[in-house]
Subunit: 361 residues, 2 copies
DNA sequence: CTGTTAGCGCTTTCAT
DNA sequence: ATGAAAGCGCTAACAG
């Protein structure tokens, strides 16, 4: 820049004012600076600029898995919003590990990002030190997809509980009474009853717990007892799901419908159904979370709960920008609506199958 | 940091040496600095550090669509490699627009990234100004997924041509002779012949063009004439594909097999097949690029060309790190192997269907 | 081993 | 409207 100023025959400050687009510069000086900059192929050094201003025009995004299509969608939403506002996004992937998440937030703090968008893996208050640290440094944080217990923070989420409740309701309205849920909490020992299940959910990822609560809500409304045997307790992977769903299908009184809480759970479930020769919707009805593009082209087309990933990301970015521009109103939690996309994987249970083991009518 | 030094009763430099992990510091001094830093909750300012060292430990990643599962996988691979080496990734999404890509590279230059990993949308030499600019500033660039004509740069790609050739060969070995390809080049007017098709490919995204070339290779080997009518010329979207494949199916001599070059093309194709009541593999055999998790759980399970996305990302990062650490050897193009995953969507053509319209045997 | 002294490239007073 | 000078937080070079 000093060179540009010299070349243009003006002081460093004038060159800076022109190139940085601030202050007042006479048209002549401006033109000469611009010409000189062009000639010397000048590019500003954002580091130096950020150094003095304290503003990086960068926001950090921390997600559990950058390779997961769900988070990829969220990132794309954030990226779009950043594009529109000349912000830049730094993305860090935590592999669902709290330790990595803490390191990631540390990196973002050190890099002086203007705000952080966080899909946290933190489950308990004692895992939130990194979040508190960022907060104490006045870095705005917006949670996305997952709320964190005990923290009063802006958040953009979907109504997981309502979405799950609606899905299960739709099963019930068709006459289903034995309704399974994959995934439940990944416990060593299966929860003994309704209460044990909900207690376990308290120590669990918020979004998953909410879905389980919605499942229970719908059963409660209909007066159907919650049977923990119908809720898988396996590791949250596609492979583990196959075995767990197998076991559920082998029950004396197997389910006539199943709700899956994530794409991996859905794929694992479909694999298990296929291996067991159980057909949908003839033998079992299926609803899944996440409306993947392929859901509509398979046989039968799958009924899905569509989550607006792009919109989650965009909204999160919007809230971040608002905080950056000084909005210090009370925290806001934005809930983005989901859509239950009805397709052919849901049908009434076969005659007699909706009756539970007890009543052999 | 000045405060930390004061608190510890040492000079600024000693504090800096301790906190920055360089130079030599006596154990006592070190301990006191660490204690003071802890007490004052000191965090280094990476901006300032980068400012003096000229090193940001950050690499930029520019992809066409951060929301696309393919690029998400690549990003995840890059993120993993960064994790292992304490680098940070900045991700920019270009929506396949060269103008956005140029802006993105500009941002990365200004942010002083140590290297750039780029899946470029540039097709012609005159669209590469931004790449040349980065090169002239000695910023290492590694292309990923797509090479760019006329540029001698490190690249990590898959062997698109061979993968497509193998897939088409496998059709031919089973007796197929009418083999379709979605997507071909998105031309206004359909290419008149084999030559026109290949010419058009020259002005097209490298990876797509290579796949088309592989398709043609296999037909050539077998002495099967290339029929441009069997190559869709539609926009590259799922919707457009549906119509284009419809048209192909309606040909007097319709295909008995089809190769799709991307997930969107595959989904669009499946939608068209389903609407037309054409069943696989009975009426038509299908092979797709990208091995999505759902491919194995649908009916029939799909034969796919698996692309190791994570490995693409990891390898690209590896090359970037090598250049950063001063490796100035000649450029290297790493080709990551794909795998043809055989499943049930491929079978021999029905009797008589492998014979082309001409020979009514 | 340690402290002092310069900058890195920019923005920001503050005079002029 | 412009230039000179100070300083952001850190590392680098040098003398002790």
């Amino acid at each position: 820049m000093a060179e540009v100023a010299a070349e243009a025959g003006v002081g460093k400050a004038t060159a800076a004012r022109t190139l940085g687009n601030y202050g007042a510069v006479s048209p002549q000086a401006r033109a000469r600076v611009l010409a000189a900059a062009e000639k010397l192929r000048y590019r500003p050094n954002s580091l130096a600029r950020s150094m003095t201003t304290g503003i990086t025009r960068t926001i950090g995004v921390v997600v559990a898995d950058a390779g997961n299509p769900f988070f990829a969608g969220v990132m794309r939403g954030v990226a779009d919003a950043c594009d529109d506002t000349d912000y830049t996004a730094i993305v860090l992937s935590t592999d669902e590990k709290v330790a990595q998440e803490q390191a990631a937030v540390g990196v973002l703090i050190d890099k002086q990002v203007d705000a952080i968008i966080l899909a946290s893996a933190a489950l308990r208050p004692n895992e939130t030190a990194h979040i508190l640290e960022a907060m104490s440094r006045k870095i705005p944080i917006v949670l996305v997809d997952r709320r964190v217990g005990g923290l009063d923070l802006d958040a953009v989420v979907i109504d997981n509980r309502e979405a799950a409740r609606d899905a299960v309701r739709s099963f019930i309205e068709l006459g289903h009474r034995r309704i399974a849920f994959a995934w439940g909490p990944p416990l060593r020992e299966r929860a003994p009853d309704r209460r044990g299940l909900l207690d376990a959910a308290g120590y669990w990822l918020w979004s998953q717990a909410e879905r389980l609560r919605g499942y229970v809500d719908a059963l409660d409304e209909a007066g159907i007892p919650v049977d923990p045997m119908l809720v898988t307790h396996c590791d949250h992977s596609e492979e583990a799901t196959v075995g767990a769903v197998d076991a559920v299908l082998a029950l004396e009184s197997p389910p006539t419908a199943i709700l899956t809480s994530e794409t991996d759970a859905l794929v694992g479930t479909l694999r298990a159904l296929r291996a067991a020769g159980v057909r949908q919707p003839h033998d079992i009805s299926v609803i899944g979370f996440d409306d993947s593009s392929w859901a509509s082209v398979i046989e039968p087309p799958l009924t899905m709960i569509a989550q607006p990933m792009l919109e989650l990301g965009r909204a999160a970015a919007r809230h971040a920008f608002a905080r950056i521009s000084g909005d210090d109103g009370s925290t806001v939690v934005e809930t983005i609506p989901t859509t239950l996309v009805s397709r052919a994987s849901v049908a009434p249970p076969r005659a007699g199958e909706s009756v539970s083991a007890g009543g052999g009518r």
